[in-house]
Amino acid sequence: MRLLRYCLREAWLGIRRNPFLSLASVFTSGVAVFVLAVFLLGALNLSNLIDFVERQVQVSVYLVAETSSSEREALMGAISKVEGVDAVEFVTREQALVRLRAAFGDSASLLEGIEEFNPLRDAIEVGVTEAAAVERVLAAVKDHPKVDDVSYGRELVARLISVTRAVRVGILGLAGLLGVATLFLIQNSVRLSVFARREEVAIMRLVGATDGIVRWPFVFEGMILACSGAFAAGMSVTLVYSWITRFMARNLVFLPVLPAGPLMTVLTPLLLVAAAFVGATGALLALRRWLRD
């Protein structure tokens, strides 16, 4: 307990004795965490947007005219068992015409007279959770004797599959890179702080301080500095993101944006914990050289 008090006091003194260096560390870690947070928010929203777009993909399985209801039910059962399928609905050709009419709106008069020889077909509409499920639905129905044709946004699905895969790999890679960059930035500023006090470290060791006693004040210092920066960054990002979500809600309603409140309540503590970890690791890495035998 006494040593903990000593370590915390020394950490605080270390920060106060080098105010400019400490401020630089807070600023560096703040900027690093800010960039990381902005990137994470962008990545989460992009992922959300991809999910949203993927859910818009629909497969229409057109049936031949002489399909019995039991055959139809069996086919629907088979489709609903396919992985990634979340909705299977039967739409009669009459219902399809009603929809078409509604879609034409004011120009519905163009469709007059079409009822007598409704050209539309009965269809099973399949909703999927991801673009890749389209291929699986296709494989399940394409050789079925009662399936006349299958329609889906072939181009859109192919592009979505390649784009989402690239984006997800890219997000993971960039998040890793940014994490490592943040670690090095914070480690570097702690290393400067250790370097400024190398004499003190040498004397501490000389008078019989164990490595732990030498280490902990710097570890606390690294954690305090990194967390202060992360806290400031978290607050700024919350403000900016709240403003963006309000702006989007007013002006770009069709684009789905993750709500600021719940997202930031989870993200800010996570960033703080990550910063504390990075600050402590940075301090340990920086001290390794000075604590070598």
């Binding site: 000593y6 004499e199 004397i203 000389l206 019989g208 490595d211 035998d293």
Partner: protein, 274 residues
């Protein structure tokens, strides 16, 4: 080494409060008296730089010892080996019964709490006061606040700096800085005090005063090893001298009958070239 070695201990007189010498046996019979043992120690820094070459000698408990020799003779290396700032390339250094080169990191820290070190360049922390500089040595050992206050007060009294405890190093004279360094070295009540050219940055008079302080500390029971090339000071103290030249031990007063039959130090007859 076995046998009996006696040393002078200063005890505080009950009435006058003055220090007076009292002869006291340090160790007797088969007890080992050596606190520091260098056994065939060599230290090679690089292929061309050999700081020590097959050096062997012992230092007894409570002994006051000068290590002399020209610059680069290996004096500082000898001291650094004792507090495990360096490890020998060959041979063994035993301090208080333990081979220091085999100690692991935490044990090195505990070893150093028993060894005070005084440097030529003082190594004081400029942003700490005299009191804080001395207290620092106790804080890192986890001592309590009241104990720190008591012990810092005692060692500052010992070196005569109680009145300057709030001063920062830059406000002190060279002699005062060195005494602060000495107080810090003594704060943990070490068994051994090592001083590496402690008078190097001091004028002759202040240097002699400091050496007297070190000698007085040895009379209180602490083993003191002083590396120096201030031969005038060495001449003034009749103490055992170990002389190094180019890393080799060329003279050891103990081996050449330095101790008198009654255990009183016969001293060093200065040869004018320490």
């Amino acid at each position: 080494m076995s046998g009996t070695v006696e040393k002078l201990v200063l005890t505080r007189g009950s009435r006058s409060g003055h220090l007076r010498p009292r002869r006291q046996p340090v160790c007797q019979g088969t007890w080992r008296c050596e606190l520091i043992e260098y056994q065939q120690v060599s230290k090679q820094y690089s292929a061309k730089v050999r700081a020590l070459d097959d050096v062997s000698f012992d230092v007894a408990k409570g002994e006051f010892l000068f290590i002399v020799g020209p610059s680069g003779a290996g004096k500082s290396t000898l001291l650094r080996l004792a507090y495990r700032e360096e490890r020998p390339t060959a041979g063994t250094v035993i301090v208080d019964g333990r081979d220091v080169s085999k100690l692991r990191s935490p044990a090195v820290a505990y070893l150093r709490r028993n060894i005070g070190v005084v440097f030529q360049d003082f190594k004081l922390l400029p942003r700490k006061t005299v009191h804080e500089n001395v207290a620092f040595a106790l804080e890192v050992t986890g001592a309590g606040a009241s104990e720190i206050r008591r012990r810092v007060g005692a060692v500052l009294d010992l070196v005569g700096l109680r009145s300057r405890h709030r001063a920062y190093p830059e406000e002190l004279s060279g002699g005062e800085q060195q005494r602060t360094c000495l107080a810090r070295a003594m704060a943990n009540g070490p068994k051994i005090l090592l001083a590496d050219e402690p008078t190097g940055n001091l004028d002759p008079e202040t240097g002699t005063e400091l050496m007297q302080a070190l000698y007085d500390i040895s009379l209180l029971g602490t083993t003191v090893m002083v590396a120096t090339h201030a031969h005038s000071i060495v001449d003034a103290f009749r103490c055992r001298v170990v002389r190094l030249e180019k890393g080799r031990l060329v003279r050891d007063d103990r081996k050449s009958g330095y101790w008198g039959a009654d255990g009183v130090r016969l001293g060093y007859e200065g040869d004018g070239q320490p």
